[in-house]
Symmetry: C2
Subunit: 428 residues, 2 copies
């Protein structure tokens, strides 16, 4: 009976393996268990794509990053012209196959194009007919009936100002990744370019959270602090070239945080979180990020700014950086990791500009970590010098600084009078 | 008879003197009949007033110029706190009128305000009650019934972290004329400032005229040139901080010019005229300016940019600068005279930043005139150097430059290796 028959195993429904998206493998740690700053930057940049380019009229495109190589559409000067009084000729007509000087050329009226064996009279500055490759000065010929008897020859290019001598059709004017300054815009206009392919300004949303933060101007009760980080970071993002929105939550409630972050995904190309100084506020943001997306947490070989949290949030995997609560750490983290992300979104190829300066006092660091000190750069003299700035009030320290002093992983001491690398902060 | 009588003279109507507005007296010329660059700048700045300030929210005010001095609204830290375990006291209570140590203090529970003779127990970090001016460490007293017996005294301020120690109410944070960078914005927010008085971005209208100019992208016929100056100058004005409109006329017809200029007066805080290279186009603009307003024409001791024309145009006396037709002259004139006018409208107190650099080749000038050469500044090393840039194509020369080399009126020679002043052009 079938009842006792060997039952065919019920067909096993293929296991539905839910694809859990995850970040690519993180870079390896060093002996101290830390990720290097360079590795962290490269890792983040590898997770973010430049924004889609679009065409923009030249007059609007100032300070934008080029998304294409641009070549000249025109010659400057536009036409070849005679430098001397004489005759426009084809230089190759002046000698026969054996290289001997020909006897004569046919004199024609100025025409659009010079045929073989023809010469056309020109005055200095006159546009040469097409086909002409040289000007034969008047003194090199004698007039004969209907033609010219040659006394001497010239080589190609002689006695003329060539079309495109200063700028030739096809010459590279600007390359992808370069920014359009005012002179470059003049150059492009002169070359006949009226539209360029650029990337839009990234939209950065700064989300400020922390139950103890109040808006500037509001009454500060005991245990509360005025929110300053989100204002400073919003301005820093604008200085980096972004369009910025600031959202102030004044809460670390998990549900409120998640909703606030999720609400911003639609308009954000990059999210940046700022908090106050409390550890639990920082944790609350990290948890919200983990619930909404894929998160990388790392201890980076850097001071300040050791703890770094990055995520790709929501369905569209919008990048998000969480900044530390201390204002100096938040600012240094912004300049080190968020600034390159904004430039990456803009498609800029340039690296952050570092300059050398003479340290005016002895500076100390620990080997194995990148130390970013606050400094005041003096640039008026041809020799640049930098003073270290310290102030018990973190925001006063930043406010008095115009540069970050870079003491890299291999440096533990820079003596007064020695050179040190710096990042200027001022966009002038 | 009356007929032969002496006639009384008819009463003379008082002459109606029409007030013809005119510019103030121009500065004196030097022996060579030229106006100095410094005099010309001062003269123009004296004719232009800063725009009216308005209140702006802090987050919007990045990069704007302050129109007020700003003092801190808060103390950082906000409250005085104990550094050690002990008793909050009024230091003046600890000695009697003769300066001898008092025997005891009344111990009270922590209250809002400490009355004379009272002491309140505090732990490290605790906020002190109002009136307390020092902390008496536990070891300085012995408990007695309902009070404390003193073993030793302290002076005012001892063992406490004072309110406002890092930043005090009323401390100057930022002064009128300074620009708001990101760190300053953080500082202001932390000090409780949410709104600042700034001046709006000046609206600069660039009017391009010249019958031989065509728009980039349009076909260039013989004798025509693509308009590049107006694009370059519009971008330079944006880089200087202005909101810019570009109006292209492609004509030097007097009536069209007058109408175009008059039409812009309503939205312009400053008009800038650009033309092509033809003398008659320049003259046409100068004539239109004279018909619409008061005009100053000067030969300035400067190269390039010797001929300078400035006017106050229309009923509202809108300032207008006419730039020379040559691109290099136009750009140098912009940087020398228009840039300070834009900053003046913004209310900025800063002067154009000049830096020293080592000349990499010998540079020559004529004494008695300011010579502005195009240069490429190398800033990465701690010693700044500058190369002179020359190119037969004016716009290529500008495009390859990132600084102007200043050879002043007293200089005729700068040898390679000597220092020279420069204006960096890049806003980085």
């Amino acid at each position: 009976m079938a009842l006792f028959g060997r039952r065919k195993p019920a067909p096993v429904a293929p296991e539905v393996v839910e694809e859990v998206p995850s970040l690519p493998p993180a870079p390896p740690l060093n002996e101290a268990g830390l990720r290097s700053v360079a590795d962290h930057i490269d890792y983040l940049l590898g997770l973010v794509e430049p924004l889609r380019p679009f065409g923009m009229s030249l007059v609007e495109a100032w300070d934008q990053v080029m998304c294409e190589d641009i070549n000249s559409m025109i010659n400057v000067p536009p036409n070849s012209t005679a430098k001397v009084e004489g005759y426009a000729v084809r230089a190759s007509d002046l000698r026969d196959d054996d290289g001997a000087m020909v006897e004569s050329l046919r004199l024609v009226d100025a025409e659009e194009r010079l045929a073989p064996g023809e010469a056309a009279r020109v005055l200095p500055g006159a546009v040469l007919p097409k086909g002409a490759t040289a000007v034969l000065p008047s003194t090199f010929v004698e007039a004969s009936e209907g033609g010219l008897r040659l006394l001497d020859v010239v080589e190609e290019g002689a006695y003329l100002r060539a079309a495109g001598e200063h700028l030739a059709v096809g010459a590279r004017l600007l390359s992808e990744g370069e920014r359009l300054n005012d002179r470059a815009i003049g150059m492009l206009a002169s070359a006949g370019i009226d539209k360029v392919l650029v990337r839009p300004r990234p939209r950065v949303v700064v989300v400020s959270s922390g139950h103890e933060l109040v808006e500037p101007g509001d009454k500060v009760r005991h245990g509360e602090t005025t929110d300053s980080n989100s204002f400073m970071i919003a301005a820093a993002a604008r200085a980096a070239g972004a369009t910025v929105f600031r959202v102030a939550l004044h809460s670390s409630d998990p549900q409120q945080l998640k909703t606030a972050i999720a609400d911003q995904l639609i308009r954000a190309d990059l999210l940046v979180s700022t908090t106050g100084g409390h550890r639990e506020d920082y944790e609350a943001v990290a948890n919200a990020m983990r619930e909404l997306g894929m998160v990388d947490s790392a201890e980076v070989a850097m001071s300040p700014g050791r703890t770094q949290t990055f995520g790709l949030i929501g369905e569209d995997q919008v990048p998000m950086v969480m900044l530390p609560g201390n204002p100096v750490s938040a600012y240094v983290t912004f300049q080190t990791f968020v600034w390159p992300l904004i430039r990456r979104l803009m498609g800029a190829s340039e690296k952050r500009r570092a300059v050398r300066a003479i340290a005016s006092s002895t500076l100390r660091s620990n080997k194995g970590q990148l130390h970013l000190l606050r400094g005041e750069l003096f640039s008026e003299s041809s020799i640049r010098t930098i003073d270290r700035v310290t102030d018990p009030h973190a925001l006063a320290e930043l406010s008095r600084s115009n540069a970050l002093i870079i003491l890299d992983e291999d440096t533990d001491l820079v003596r007064a009078g020695e050179q040190v690398m710096c990042w200027p902060l001022e966009e002038d």
